[in-house]
Symmetry: C2
Subunit: 275 residues, 2 copies
C-alpha cells in the first residue's frame, strides 16, 4: 500500500462517507482535490489560466461523476512570491471563467505566499440521486467514456521536454456533464477516471465487492493512463440502448468493456503522479 492510501486508511473508521469522489450529506456533496506544482503539473507546461481552469475542472469532474451539480467553491491558493499582479490576475481569471461556465459561486478560501503554486479546491454540489462507487450489481455492464491513453502519452512527452497538442485533455479535461446528468437515471455506480482506469476499477471493486470479466484486453498504456477525467460507470444490460441513445445525442463515445462478476479486481499500474 502506498503512503497516501495508508494515510487515508487511518480515517476509514472515522466516517462511512470516505471512499467516493465526494461525501454525500443530505442533498449536498462535498468534494476536495489538490492541484500542486511539481505533483500534478510543472509550471513550464501550463499557462496560469490553464492551471486554475484545470484545478477547478478536476474537482467539478468529481461532482459530475456523482450526478451532482456544483454550486459553490472554496479555494486554497498558495502563490509564489515572485508572481506579478498581472500573473495573479490571470490566475484568478482561470478560476472565475470555469466558475461562470458551470454556474459556481466562489465563496471563500485562503490565500498565502509560498515557494510554489499549490491549489486545493473544495466543491459543494447538490443532488437528489447521488451515484457512488459501491453501487455495482452483479451482471452490470462496465463502461467508460471517450478515449483513454492520450494523457499518459502526453505526460511522457512533456516530461521528456516535447510539446503536446494544445487541445490535449492533459491541459483541459473534457467533462461530460450534460450527458451524465441525463444518463445517470439508468446508472448503478459511477466515478471519474483521475488515477487511471485500472486504479479506479480496483476502488470500485473494493467498494462494490465485485470483480470484472473483461470483454477484451485493455493495454496498460490505456488502463494505467491517469488524469483522463472520463466517466467510468455501470448499468444493467436492459438500459444499454437508452444510454447509448443519450450518448449519441451528445456525441460521446462509450466503451462497454466488462461485466461485473463475483470476486475482486486488483490493479498493477504504478502511481501516475510524477512528483
Amino acid at each position: 500500500m502506498n503512503k497516501e492510501d495508508f494515510f487515508i486508511k487511518q480515517f476509514n473508521n472515522n466516517s462511512k462517507l470516505i471512499g467516493d469522489d465526494g461525501a454525500v450529506i443530505g442533498e449536498f456533496v462535498y468534494s476536495n482535490d489538490a492541484f500542486f506544482e511539481n505533483v500534478h503539473f510543472k509550471k513550464e507546461w501550463f499557462s496560469l489560466k490553464q492551471i486554475a481552469r484545470k484545478a477547478m475542472l478536476v474537482n467539478i469532474s468529481d461532482a459530475i461523476a456523482m450526478n451532482a451539480k456544483p454550486k459553490y467553491a472554496l479555494l486554497t491558493v498558495a502563490i509564489p512570491k515572485e508572481y506579478s499582479k498581472k500573473d495573479i490576475k490571470y490566475l484568478a481569471q482561470g478560476f472565475l471563467e470555469v466558475a461562470k461556465e458551470y454556474g459556481i459561486e466562489i465563496i471563500g478560501g485562503d490565500t498565502i505566499s509560498n515557494c510554489k503554486l499549490d491549489i486545493s479546491v473544495t466543491i459543494i454540489s447538490t443532488t437528489n440521486n447521488p451515484k457512488l462507487r459501491r453501487g455495482i450489481k452483479k451482471s452490470d455492464l462496465l463502461c467508460f467514456t471517450g478515449d483513454l491513453g492520450s494523457c499518459k502519452k502526453d505526460l511522457r512527452r512533456l516530461l521528456s521536454g516535447k510539446k503536446i497538442s494544445k487541445k490535449s485533455k492533459f491541459y483541459e479535461p473534457k467533462l461530460k456533464a450534460e450527458f451524465f446528468y441525463e444518463a445517470s437515471k439508468y446508472v448503478n455506480s459511477c466515478m471519474d477516471i483521475s488515477d487511471g482506469l485500472f486504479f479506479e476499477l480496483e476502488r470500485m471493486s473494493k467498494q462494490s465487492k465485485k470483480g470484472f470479466e473483461f470483454f477484451y484486453e485493455i493495454p496498460k498504456r490505456v488502463g494505467c493512463s491517469g488524469e483522463e477525467y472520463e466517466l467510468l460507470f455501470s448499468f444493467e444490460e436492459k438500459h444499454k440502448m437508452k444510454i447509448e441513445k443519450i450518448a449519441k445525442r451528445y456525441g460521446i463515445k462509450l466503451n462497454i468493456f466488462a461485466k461485473a462478476v463475483e470476486g475482486r479486481y486488483k490493479c498493477d499500474c504504478k502511481n501516475h503522479h510524477f512528483g
Copy 2:
C-alpha cells in the same frame, strides 16, 4: 495592497459571501484555511501531531467565531516522500484527536506526495445565528479575549533558534467555544484573531463601515501579534455585565479596549507570515 489581498479582490464581485471567517449558506458555514510548512510552521518546531492539531484548530476557530458548530471536515494533506508509516500514523492521529474533541466527522479530501507538509482544511459547520464581521453598530464596545502578544514573541524566539514553553498558544490555540456559544446572543459582530488584532480591526472596520476610539494605547507587540486565535467581538454597552458574567464562569479574560465610532480604521502592522 499585498499580493494575497490583490488575489482575493479579484473574487469580490463574484460573491457577497467572501469577507468573513466562513461563508454562510442557509444553516451551513463553510470555512477553509491553509497550514503550510515554511509559511505557518517549520517542521523543527512542531511534532507531526501538533501540526495536524493546529491545522484543525485554526479552522475550528473560524467556525466558533461565527457562532457555528463544526460538524464535518475535508482535508487536503500533501505529505513529504520521506515520511515513514509511523510518521503518517502520528500525523493522522492529530487530526483524529481534534475531530473527536469537537465531534467532527472527517468525510474526505485528497492526499498527495509532496516536497513538504502542506495542509488545507475545509470545515462545514452549522449555526442558526451567524456572527459576521459587518455587524458592528455605532457605540458598540470592542473586546478581545485572553492575552495577546505571546505568539509574536514565541515566533521570534523560534525563528532565532530558541525554545518556547510547551504550553505556548503558538503550539496550540486555546479556543473559547463554550464561552462564545453562550455569549454570542449578546454579540453584534465577531471574528477570530489570526493575523493580529490590528489587522482584524481593519477588516472589521471595512466590513462594518466603522472606526474605533481606543480606551488605551495598545502596543504593536500586542496588536500586531498573529496566530493568537483569540476572539474579537463587539456588543452593546447594555450587555456588558451579562457577557462579563459568562466570561467569569468560563474563566476567560475580557479586554474591552475600544468603542465603535463613525470612520475607518487602518492598520500598519507587517504581515506576520515568515515564509
